[in-house]
Amino acid sequence: AQTVTQSQPEMSVQEAETVTLSCTYDTSESDYYLFWYKQPPSRQMILVIRQEAYKQQNATENRFSVNFQKAAKSFSLKISDSQLGDAAMYFCAFPGPVNQFYFGTGTSLTVIP
């Protein structure tokens, strides 16, 4: 069975600094996708970044990047130059065999001005 674990319930970062959110997962699949979603106070779920497991190159979207370690089944999110608008819950997600997503328990990120 697929599982997704986020071990950091809360994180904080100073504005303009860098923060890394951790995620580990378990799967027997060899080809899959991984995602990070952001949920701001409005509670709208927003896709932040995705990684294809067969690609060794880490995905990057502007200030957001991932550190994907396939052998270790680790998928961390790095936010550079943190902004106040980055404050949100962040969820790591992994699709199951029928594309049903399994989400981690989330990390609440606070950005300190």
């Binding site: 996708y33 709208q44 896709l47 594309n99």
Partner: protein, 112 residues
């Protein structure tokens, strides 16, 4: 363009009353559709998913049911709400694992 509509945005219902939440998708055909529930300050729990009309899979046995009467319509229902049904309900759709999910704006349900 592809959009997803979910309503109502907020709902307050008494214990024992029925429930119907609706989700519709535009701009795509034969999507996979999903219902999630999120308790306050918690993660997302998959409730139901559907890969086609009339096809419903339940992840968690509970007081809720789902139906898909049309290709792009997904309904979450209950005959008698419980206090524990309170939460934030999210509908989502996907057509391919690489694309991830597109979520609706959610329904905040409070059972009193």
């Amino acid at each position: 363009s592809q959009t997803i509509h979910q309503w109502p945005a907020t709902l307050v219902q008494p214990v024992g009353s029925p429930l119907s939440l609706e989700c519709t998708v535009e701009g795509t055909s034969n999507p996979n559709l999903y219902w999630y529930r999120q308790a306050a300050g918690r993660g997302l729990q998959l409730l139901f998913y559907s890969v086609g009309i009339g096809q419903i899979s339940s992840e968690v046995p509970q007081n809720l049911s789902a139906s898909r009467p049309q290709d792009r319509q997904f309904i979450l229902s209950s005959k008698k709400l419980l206090l524990s049904d309170s939460g934030f309900y999210l509908c989502a759709w996907s057509v391919h694992p690489s694309a991830g999910y597109t979520f609706g704006s959610g329904t905040r349900l409070t059972v009193v």
